[in-house]
Structures are given as C-alpha cells and as structure tokens.
C-alpha cells in the first residue's frame, strides 16, 4: 500500500461539471458489450440457440407448403429471426437485470452520480449490438442452408429495418419490466423463460400460424412477437404466401401500430415498476 501523501492530492480546483448522460451511456454500452463478449459460454449459447432450432425445425418439416409457393424452412427462418431478436432483448435483459439487482450492482451504480438514463442507454447499445449480430448470423444460415430469399428491393429492407427497431425496442422494454418480477437473481431465468417459450409457441415461431387455433392467436396478438414474425414473413416470403396469414395479408400497418404501442406502453411500464433495490432490501 502506498503511504506517500503527495500522490494522493487530487486536483479539486475548477467548477465541477457532471459528465453528460449520452457519453456515459456510450461508455456503459462499451462496458456491457465487453462483459457480454467475455462470458464465452453465454455468447456461444445466445447465438447458437436460434440457429440450432432453425436447423432442427427446417430439417424436420422440409416440405413445400401447399398453395403458398414456399417451403416450411422459409417460414421457420422468418420466425426464428423474430425469436432471436426477442431472446437478446426480452430474455437477456429480463434475466441479467434481475441478477444485477440481486447482486447489488444496481445499488452500487445508484450510489454514484451516474444518471440512471446512462444505465439504460448502455443496455440499449448491448441489445442493439447483440440483436444485429444475432440477426446477421440467422440471415446467413437461413440464406445459405434454408432457402431464405434475402430481399432485393430497398423497400423490403426498409420494412425489415423498422420492424427490427420497433420489435427490439418493445421487447427490450418488456424485458426491463419483467426483471422486477423475480424475487431473486437465481429464480430470474425460470420467471423469464416460461412466458417467452409460451409466446414462441403461440406466435408462429415453432408452429405455423395456419395450424394454430384462432383463440391462441388472439392471445399472442397482444404481444410483440407475433407481429414481428408476421412482419418478417412479409419481408422474406413471396406475396403468394400471404394467404397463410390469419387475415390473408401481411398487415404492415397493424404491425407498426402494435409494435409502436409496445414501445410506448413498455416505457411507461418500466418507469412505473423499475426498482434499484431487490424486494428483500425494502
């Protein structure tokens, strides 16, 4: 331990100016990504999960879909991209924030002059980076192995982009909101994974919407995942496949509406429910 006093004297002169929220958010984002990348097992499983499921489903159901001019693997590729986005946003934030709260990482941050918004900005950057990487991996696998046709027009890519942005934002906000639900970090994954799994089954990720009963689709219609899947089908499948949809159409307008509503509603939900301390800490 150093015992010389002269090395300790900090320059306290000058008017103290608090660092800006935006730049701290960028720094937190870099730190979040660094931590994510260093948990190698988490990286491998995060990216492998949807790819493995895509490979499984597309291999099991490999035939043509009647009267739609597409293969089943094309349907799964679109759905798996949506599920992948939800897993890096909803699932990963829901679990990681619950753990950070339980392990008092949040409390420590709250004890510093870091503005709370910088913490959330950092999470946004993490989710965006992992979401883009996840989607790129799936597009690559889908296009090379599972008949996924990448869009050739700028309009389709634009549609893809806004569904991606609105979808990932809505899911991330939902993830932040659900992180307040688990009582401890240990129970977080069970609490978060079950609703995510159910939504994947009823939103057209694992099971094509045409074979799902209407009442289940009516439930999934309340959540973003169904609309993300539908939107990505609209982007990646030919127009002939629209007959498979519940409404017989891609419904881009309604997709924008529901996803947009989740972005606003999710934000309100987060602002109302977010806690820096775990319930045990009172």
């Amino acid at each position: 331990m150093t015992t010389t006093t002269d090395t300790l004297v900090s320059s306290r002169a000058g008017a103290p100016r608090l660092p800006g929220t935006w730049s701290l958010g960028l720094r937190r984002g870099a730190l979040e990504i660094k931590q994510f990348v260093r948990r190698r097992d988490q990286v491998i499983f995060t990216f492998a999960f949807p790819v493995v499921f895509l490979a499984l489903f597309a291999s099991i159901f490999s035939g043509q879909v009647e009267n739609a001019g597409i293969t089943a693997s094309q349907l799964y590729a679109a759905g798996m991209i949506a599920a992948g986005i939800m897993s890096v946003s909803f699932q990963s934030l829901g679990i990681s924030i619950a753990i950070e709260r339980d392990e008092k990482v949040l409390r420590r941050l709250r004890g510093t002059p870091m503005p709370p918004a910088a913490y959330f900005l950092g999470k946004v950057w993490l989710v965006l980076a992992t979401g883009i990487a996840e989607t790129a991996v799936l597009l690559l696998f889908g296009a090379t192995l599972f008949d996924l046709d990448l869009p050739t027009t700028a309009t389709k890519w634009l549609e893809f982009s806004w569904i991606f942005v609105l979808g990932i934002t809505g899911c991330a906000l939902l993830g932040i909101a659900i992180s307040s639900l688990p009582k401890s970090g240990k129970s977080a994954s069970s609490v978060v994974v079950l609703p995510f799994l159910v939504l994947q089954f009823i939103s057209g990720v694992y099971i094509p919407v045409g074979t799902l009963p209407d009442w289940l689709l009516d439930i999934s219609a309340f959540f973003p995942l169904k609309w993300m899947c539908q939107g990505f089908r609209g982007v990646f499948l030919p127009q002939s496949a629209a007959v498979l949809e519940q409404a017989g159409d891609w419904e881009f307008g309604r997709i924008a509406l529901v996803l947009g509503a989740w972005c606003i509603g999710g934000l309100v939900l987060c602002l109302l429910t977010f806690r820096w301390k775990s319930r045990r800490d009172g």
Binding site: M1, T5, R12, L31, K34, K104
Partner: protein, 289 residues
C-alpha cells in the same frame, strides 16, 4: 445553514412492527473520523443507509453535506463516497477497467492508477475481478468508494472478514484519507477499530445513541470502578465489579487470611464500557447469557 458534515436529529425508522432507529441524534464535524459502534441489529446499517440516501426514514431531520439525502441529486452524490457492507463488482472486468470506468461518472475524479496503488492493488490491476480474494475485493470496493474524490466517505463495516494484517493496512488507508481532509464515517463492531481510527464515536443500542465522545473520554467517564477477580475455596472463579476495589480486597484478605487465590484487579477497558452500554453485560460484571 448547518456547520456539520452530518447533522441528524430525532431520526426514526420502522420495519413493520420493529423499530430499527428510535430517535437517533448525530453531529459529525467536517474532517473528522467518526465511528458508529454497536452490536448487530442496533440500527447502525439502517442509519448509514439513510445517510447514503438509499433508505427512506419515518421521522426526524437529516442533513448530509448540507442536503437531505432522500432528495439530493447527482451533484451531491459526486461528493459522497460509499463503501457498502456487501459488495459486488462486475466479475468479467479487470480492476483497472472498473476503476477507470467509475472515474468517468465523477466531475472531478482522482487519478485511477493512483487510487489502485492507494488500495494496494497495483499487482492485481490487470486481473479479472472474479479472480480476486475477498480482501482484494474489499480493497476494490474502497477504491470505487474514493475514486470520485469524496468530501465524505461512508463505510459500513469495512473490515469484516479481514485478517489482522489486512485490517491494519486498511486502517492506514483510512488515516491517509483522513489526513487529506476527507470526513469519514464508519460503522464497526470491532472496538479496537473504533479506538484506533475514530476521533469521536457514538455507541448505538436499540436504535438510540447511548454514549458519544472521544474514545478515551468515553472510557474515563463511563469506565469508573474496577473488576476484582479471585478463586473461591471450592475452586470456582468469582468476578465482582466495584467502585471500591481496595475495600473488596481488604475484605477478601480477611476471609482468606493471607494470599487470595487467583487475585486480579482490572480497570475497565473500552470493551467493558461498550458491553455495559449496549446491555450485553449485567451490572455484576458477568456476561449476559
């Protein structure tokens, strides 16, 4: 308005039916090292958490560096350093990355490399936090507590779980910070720690301050009398607290007619004073069971 670094009047905090803090008063001056001493459950941690702004209160007035912690903002937080009782730092990052990153939160931070050296983690600067020992993590906690160059440092049981050598090193660190002019408030249940570090201390029991002052003065004012120990004829040890030890010894001499077996006369230590104040010692000088 207030000249004190920490000014607490009539602080109250309830947890359901339990009253954790029950009309507590504290006045801590700028630049002093103030010890809050008390047994587990006396209300120390609750009090410190209220001073940190991390817990609400049910009554009383609290001013820390001139502001109410319950409503103070970012500028206030940048002037107060906190070392928590139980800590967690990002396991995947290195010591250096973490300290440098936290420095960014503050308007006028200390030099991160100097702080790392200050807490004696130079050799571990490039190590991931998950690989640090308990004592090393604690030193990292202190580094993160002082990185912002705080005017006031609040430490809650900072040396719990330290081995004696690490504790002495830690004390040196606290003295160093104190010499620099940092006001330091620390809770502890180690008496020697309070005696070694604190300019003044408050003994808390049952959510109230039961004694306050300089350690030596506390011992003198409250530690009157003496303890006389001897062994009875049947071989059983006896202890008596008395204001008149000489008379006790005279009586014993009379009874034993000569040498008194196992005779010892002790003046009370700070520990005796503390145990008596916190109700862990009955008036006969026997430890309460």
């Amino acid at each position: 308005m207030t000249q004190l670094a920490v000014d607490v009047r009539g602080l109250r905090k309830q947890y359901g039916e339990v009253t954790a803090v029950d009309g507590l008063d504290l006045g801590i001056r700028h630049g002093e090292v103030f010890g809050i001493l008390g047994p587990n459950g006396a209300g120390k941690s609750t009090t410190v958490e209220i001073l940190q702004g991390h817990r609400g209160r049910d009554g009383g007035e609290v001013s820390v560096l001139g502001a109410d912690p319950a409503s103070a903002g970012r500028a206030w937080r940048s002037r107060v350093g906190i070392v928590w009782q139980d800590e967690s730092a990002p396991a995947e990052l290195t010591v250096r990355e973490t300290v440098h990153h936290f420095a960014r939160y503050y308007p006028n931070p200390r030099d991160p490399e100097q702080v790392i050296a200050l807490v004696g983690l130079e050799k571990k600067a490039s190590a991931r936090i998950k690989g640090l020992s308990g004592g090393q993590r604690r030193r990292l906690d202190v580094a993160l507590g002082v990185i912002g160059g705080p005017e006031l440092l609040l430490l809650d049981e900072p040396t719990t779980g330290f081995d004696p050598a690490a504790r002495r090193q830690f004390w040196e660190l606290i003295r160093l910070l104190a010499r620099e002019g940092t006001t330091i408030v620390l809770t502890t249940h180690y008496l020697e720690e309070a005696e070694a570090l604190a300019d003044r201390l408050a003994v808390i029991a049952g959510g109230k301050v039961v004694a306050e002052g300089e350690p030596a003065a506390l011992r003198q004012s409250l530690g009157t009398g003496a303890t006389v120990e001897w062994t009875e004829v049947d071989g059983s040890p006896r202890t008596l607290r008395t204001e008149t030890p000489t008379r006790t010894v005279a009586e014993l001499m009379h009874r034993f007619d000569g040498e008194i077996p196992g005779l010892r006369i002790g003046r009370p230590t700070l520990e005796d004073v503390y145990l008596r104040l916190t109700g862990q010692l009955d008036p006969q000088g026997e430890e309460a069971r």
